[in-house]
Amino acid sequence: MTQRRAAWTAVPLALFTIGALALSGCSGSNAAAPGDDADSILLERPAGSTNDKKVYDDVLAACEETTGVTIETQDVPYDGYLAKVLQQVSSKTMPDVLMLDNGDLPQIASSGALAPLSDFDINVDGYADGVIEASSYDGDLYAVQPVANTIALFVNTDMLAAAGVDVPTTWDELKTAAAALSGDGKYGMAFSATATEEGTFQFLPFFWSNGGDETDIATEAGAEALQLWVDLVDSGSASESVLTWTQADVNDQFVAGNTAMMVNGPWQFPSLDEAGVPYEVVSIPAPQDGDEIISPLGGEVWTIPQTGNEAKMTAAASVVECLGSDESQMALASGRDLVPTNTELVDQFIAENPKMAGFAEQVPGLRARTAQLGADYTAASEGIYTAIQTALTGGADPLTALQQSAPNK
C-alpha cells in the first residue's frame, strides 16, 4: 500500500471510530420504559436478600390484583444505591415508584424530585407519629413506610444464667451486669461505635432516652450517655474494637460467644437462629427506672418521584397506598422480621409473632432521626460519631468531645 492510499483509508477509519465511540457514549440510562399506558409502572428498589425479594414479590403480586396496575421491578445493588438515585434525578430518568432508606428521604425530597402525597388521595391513618415525621419534609408528607426496624438489647440467656446475672433494665444494672459477665477473653457488652451512621444509630437510644437532642448535641444529657459508653469500654466490659465493629461484626462476636450482650436489630434473627445461639430480646436499658426508651426509626419508605407523567404518577400512588395497607404491613412484617408501623396492628402482630414483642412495643415511641433537622441531620450525625470516637479513644472527656465536633452551621 502506498503512503497516499494508506492515508485515504486511515482517515475514514478514524472518523468511523470516533463516531462509534461518540454514539456509544450517548446510550443514556438503562431504565426500561414499559408501555405508555397508565396500567403499568416501574418500581425501583435495592437488591435485598433472597428472602426479602420473595416476601416483597408476593406482596407486590397481591397489590397488582388490588390496584389493577402491572408492576415492573428494577433491582439496583445496595452499595451505591443513593449515588444511582442521584444520577437518575439529574438525568430525569426516575422510576415511577422509588424505595429509599428513611434517613435519606429529606435529602432527596429537598431536591424537589419527589411528589408530596397530598397531591394524591392516599390514606395514612393510624401510622405512628415518628413514622409520619420521618416521611415528611418541610411540613409535607412524601412517603409511605409500611414496616420499620429499630434496635434493642440481645442477651445470651445461657451466659447470663451461668454468671447468675439478671437481665439489666437500667444503666447502672447494665454496667454491673456487663462487668460480671466480662473476663477470660469474653466481654459483657458489645455495640457498634464506628465513624459512620451505624455508630450514631446505635448510640441514639442511649442519647435520646437521657434527654439528648440532635439539634444541640453538646449538652449534659448527651455527655452522660457518652460517659456510659466510655465507662463500659474503660472498665473492660466492652472491647476497644467497638470502634471498628459494624453491626454485622458485633453480631459475629455474639454468635461466637465472645460477648454476652449486644445492641442489634431484628435482621440478625436468621443468622442467630441458624447458629443456634440461645438469645432473648429485651428493651434497651433506660437511664433510670421508669424512663421511656426512645429508639431511632429505621426502615425503607416508598416515594413517588416527579416524572411528569400524570397518569403513571396516579397509578404509582395507588401502588404505594397498597404497600402501606394493613395486609401488606402484616405480610411484610411477619416475613421479614420487622414491625408494622400502623399502631392499630401492633397487638395483633405481637400475638402472631411473640419473639418480636421487644421491638413491637417500641413502635409508638420510635423517633425519626431527621424529624427536627431534615437534610441537615447528616452534619449532626457526623458530629455525634466523631465525638464518640474521640471520647472512646481517650482524646477528650465526653462533653468536650461533643462540643468540639458539634456542627457549627
Binding site: 503512503q3 485515504w8 478514524a14 465511540l21 424530585a113 476497644e240 466523631t386
Partner: protein, 295 residues
C-alpha cells in the same frame, strides 16, 4: 502530496486518543474545578442550579480544624508507603535475579496481593488486625509467650502505621514486578566486566544496578505516588478514616464531604487540592527525566 498524506495519517492516529482524553479526563477535571467554586448539593441534581460562591469552599475546607492533620496524614501515608514499597520491592527483585528451584512459582505467588480486589483485602486485614480475636495478635502472643493485645486499628497512634503496613503489603508486587523487568534489561556483560575489576555485591549494585535502573525507578515512584495519593478503598475498608480521624487523608475527606455530607462543592475543592499535589509531582518527574535525557 505524500507529506500531507503522512500528516493526515499521524493526525488520524492521535485524534481518537485525544478525543477520549478530552471527554473522559478533560471534561470531568474542568467540571470538578467549576464545581469547587459553586454550592453544589443534592438540590442541584434536580434543579440544575448551583450558585457561585467563589473561594468559599476552599476557605472553609482549609480552615476547618482537622485539615492540618489530614494533610499530615496524607504526607506520612504517601511518603512512608512509597519508600517502604520501593525498598522491599527492589530487594525482592534483586533477590529473584538468581534462579533457584521454585523461584518462578514463588515470584508468581508474590503477585497475589496485587490481584485480590482491594475491598476484599481490606476486609480480611480488618479481621486479622482485630484487637481481641485477630490472627496477628494471636500469632504474636504465641511467639512471645505473653498476651499481646495491640489495638492495631483502635489506637489513634497505631492506626496510621497499621494502614500504611497494609498499603505496603499491597504495593510490593507492583514495585517488584516493574523493577524486576527493569533489572532484566541490564546486560550481564556489565556485571562480568565489573567482576573482573573486583566489583561485586554491594559495590556492583551501587555502580551498575542503581544507575541503570534510574528510568524505571522514576516511573515506579511516579505511578506509586499518584496511586497512593488517591488510595481510598483501602483506608475506608480498614478504618473508615477513624479512629477519631487519625487515618483521614485528603482522598477520604473528599469522599466523606461529597457522599456523606452531600456537600459536593467542598468535596470538589479537596479533590482539586489533591490534583494540584499530583500535578506538582508529575512536573518534578518530567523535569528530572528531561535532565537525565540531557545528561
Amino acid at each position: 502530496m505524500t507529506l500531507r498524506a503522512e500528516r493526515w495519517l499521524q493526525l488520524a492516529f492521535v485524534v481518537p486518543a485525544a478525543l477520549y482524553l478530552v471527554f473522559f479526563f478533560g471534561y470531568p477535571i474542568v467540571q470538578n474545578g467549576v464545581m469547587s467554586f459553586q454550592e453544589f448539593t443534592t438540590r442541584t441534581f434536580f434543579t440544575g442550579e448551583a450558585p457561585w460562591v467563589g473561594w468559599y469552599n476552599y476557605v472553609e475546607v482549609i480552615s476547618s480544624p482537622g485539615f492540618g492533620r489530614v494533610m499530615l496524614n496524607t504526607a506520612i501515608f504517601t511518603v512512608v508507603s512509597i519508600v517502604a514499597q520501593f525498598v522491599i520491592g527492589l530487594a525482592l527483585a534483586v533477590f529473584f535475579r538468581r534462579r533457584f528451584p521454585l523461584s518462578g512459582v514463588v515470584r508468581s505467588l508474590l503477585l497475589l496481593p496485587w490481584l485480590i480486589p482491594l475491598i476484599v483485602s481490606s476486609a480480611i486485614w480488618r479481621w486479622m488486625l482485630d484487637k481481641d480475636s485477630g490472627v496477628i495478635n494471636q500469632v504474636l502472643s504465641g511467639l512471645t509467650g505473653s498476651d499481646v493485645s495491640i489495638g492495631w486499628l483502635t489506637d489513634v497512634n497505631i492506626a496510621l502505621p497499621a494502614v500504611i503496613l497494609v498499603n505496603v503489603w499491597l504495593g510490593i508486587p507492583f514495585n517488584m514486578t516493574i523493577l524486576y523487568s527493569g533489572l532484566q534489561d541490564i546486560p550481564e556483560e556489565l556485571y562480568e566486566a565489573a567482576a573482573l575489576d573486583g566489583a561485586t555485591g554491594w559495590r556492583a549494585f551501587w555502580a551498575i544496578t542503581w544507575p541503570m535502573l534510574r528510568p524505571v525507578t522514576g516511573v515506579v515512584v511516579l505511578l506509586g505516588v499518584v496511586y497512593t495519593l488517591k488510595a481510598l478503598d483501602i483506608i475506608l475498608g480498614l478504618t473508615g478514616g477513624g479512629p477519631a480521624g487519625s487515618t483521614e487523608t485528603l482522598a477520604t475527606e473528599a469522599y466523606r464531604l461529597s457522599f456523606g455530607q452531600f456537600d459536593f462543592g467542598a468535596g470538589a475543592a479537596v479533590g482539586n487540592i489533591l490534583i494540584v499535589i499530583s500535578l506538582i509531582f508529575a512536573v518534578l518527574y518530567l523535569r528530572a527525566n528531561r535532565k537525565a535525557v540531557d545528561e
